[in-house]
Amino acid sequence: MGSYIPSTGDERLEMLKAIGLNTVEDLYAAVPESARLKSLNLPEGLSEMEVAACVSALAEKNKVFRSVFRGAGSYRHYIPSIVKTITSKEEFVTAYTPYQAEISQGVLQSIFEYQTEICELTGMDVSNASVYDGGTAAAEAVLMNVDNRRRKTVVISETVNPGVIEVVKTYCGSRNVPVTVVPAKDHVTDLEALKAALTNETASFYFQSPNYFGILEDSEALIAASHEVGAKVAMGVNPISMGLLKTPAEYGADIACGEGQPLGLSTAFGGPYLGFMACTKDMMRKLPGRIVGETTDAQGRRAYVLTLQAREQHIRREKASSNICSNEALCAMTAAVYLAAVGPEGLQKVAKNSAAHAHYLAQKLSEIEGFKLVEDKTFFHEFLMTCPICPYCLNERLAEHGILGGLPVDGGILWCATELNTRSEIDNLVALVAEIVKEEASK
């Protein structure tokens, strides 16, 4: 019904006359008759009120869980109200890419701030302005080091999030870059298998820590083994964990990347998310995506611009290493605001609280018969536990109480806790689980 066209029908007729045409059809004179569409098979347009009702009805068909104990690549954290206020400002929401620096200092500076914050989080020298998500970040990262001399293959650990492994395989496959998946051993990367897989043709090795099962990998050993054969290492990290845990830079990784969704973005059924990528100084020119730099104008005033653009597709075209154009700018700003709102103390607090709650949850669950940590290894805020009853059945029962239980994985359950899962929430969950298990046993 609406089309957001300000001009009235009469005004449009006048404009047509002004350019020497009579009807709207005349505008499409160049289109071959045989291709012309008679009419669209779409429903009639609706008023705003009707659209709101229609789409809201779809939202209501979904179940929003009060209590979420599931992670596996998407994490519910507390999002400060200031983050939502700032990222809803119309100028930020509706602005275009800041190609025109003089009119875009707001956006450009915010990206520069984001880049700085990502460097601080990861310990790296240079960050880009974002890529689509953690999966494409991993794919772009491993491809950065593939050259047409010798470095032609990629190695990835099986303990990486399965969705990320899929994306890396797709991106590498189309470029004819063979990918070797190093098997897990006891839910961490098998170091011996990695060493066997690495050759002097390996361009990159990718792993994540905490890994998909929540366990902290032996990052030092994995990176050393890779560097031994001259392969670069891209390390995927949980950005919240960076408030507390050792950084990829401290471990000697060459590239740090990952999924930035935990930094103030809602879980949003999978998107939009945020891929962050940061690297050491000497890899700067291989980093894909937009990068903002600081410079001055003719009067010596500080100014921000998109820079090193000669890496990108609009200049290099078929020689660009990546085709990325639009990125996740507003999501990057969201992360920047979140990080500024929590600050260094706050981020550490979120990390510590999440880890503490997860460990409390693990301890309490293991007091129930049949629940045991699958691995006795250090984890951050996720862990894999056995389950004495069918995990899907357990979750179905928990759902009745508004609780999203952990993800069924490998016959067990991958549980997650963040600062949002309070002690009483966890106690409540554990009591429920015990009750459900007891009921199932008595059947």
Binding site: R149, R285, Q309, A310, I315, R316, K319
Partner: protein, 126 residues
């Protein structure tokens, strides 16, 4: 536009200096003027092979990337590291800011002398 008499020139605006077994390659004054401010030069590695008439490097300005073609076939023995750190040299002193040195030269493209090159540039400008 500056042209040095003792160098040879390609139609794609590279200069070549032959010194016994070793050839030195760079960008001409015409090239750097057309490009504008050069911000980065992507050079090959020592040991790489280059082929006459094929690209071996590229040069970045703020808004463009341009391929550089080798006038000779051979093996790269040296690359100008200084140029990587200070690309402005290619604008300021194009005949001093060499890109690569090549040895084991087996083939050379048909090149122009200074006069012929000047004429070539004049015709391109039209």
């Amino acid at each position: 536009m500056k042209v040095l008499a003792d160098l040879k020139y390609s139609k794609s605006h590279e200069w070549l200096k032959e010194d016994g077994d070793v050839c030195t390659v760079g960008l001409t004054d015409f090239a750097q003027e057309e490009l504008g401010d050069i911000v980065f030069v992507n050079l090959p590695m020592v040991g790489d092979a280059v082929t006459a008439g094929e690209t071996f490097a590229d040069v970045e300005s703020v808004k463009a990337v341009v391929d550089v073609y080798s006038p000779v076939t051979g093996v790269v023995t040296e690359v100008n590291e200084e140029l990587i750190d200070n690309p402005a040299m290619a604008n300021e002193a194009p005949y001093d800011a060499w890109l690569i040195k090549v040895a084991e030269v087996t083939e050379t493209e048909e090149l122009l002398d200074a006069e012929a090159y000047e004429a070539h540039c004049a015709s391109e400008k039209e």
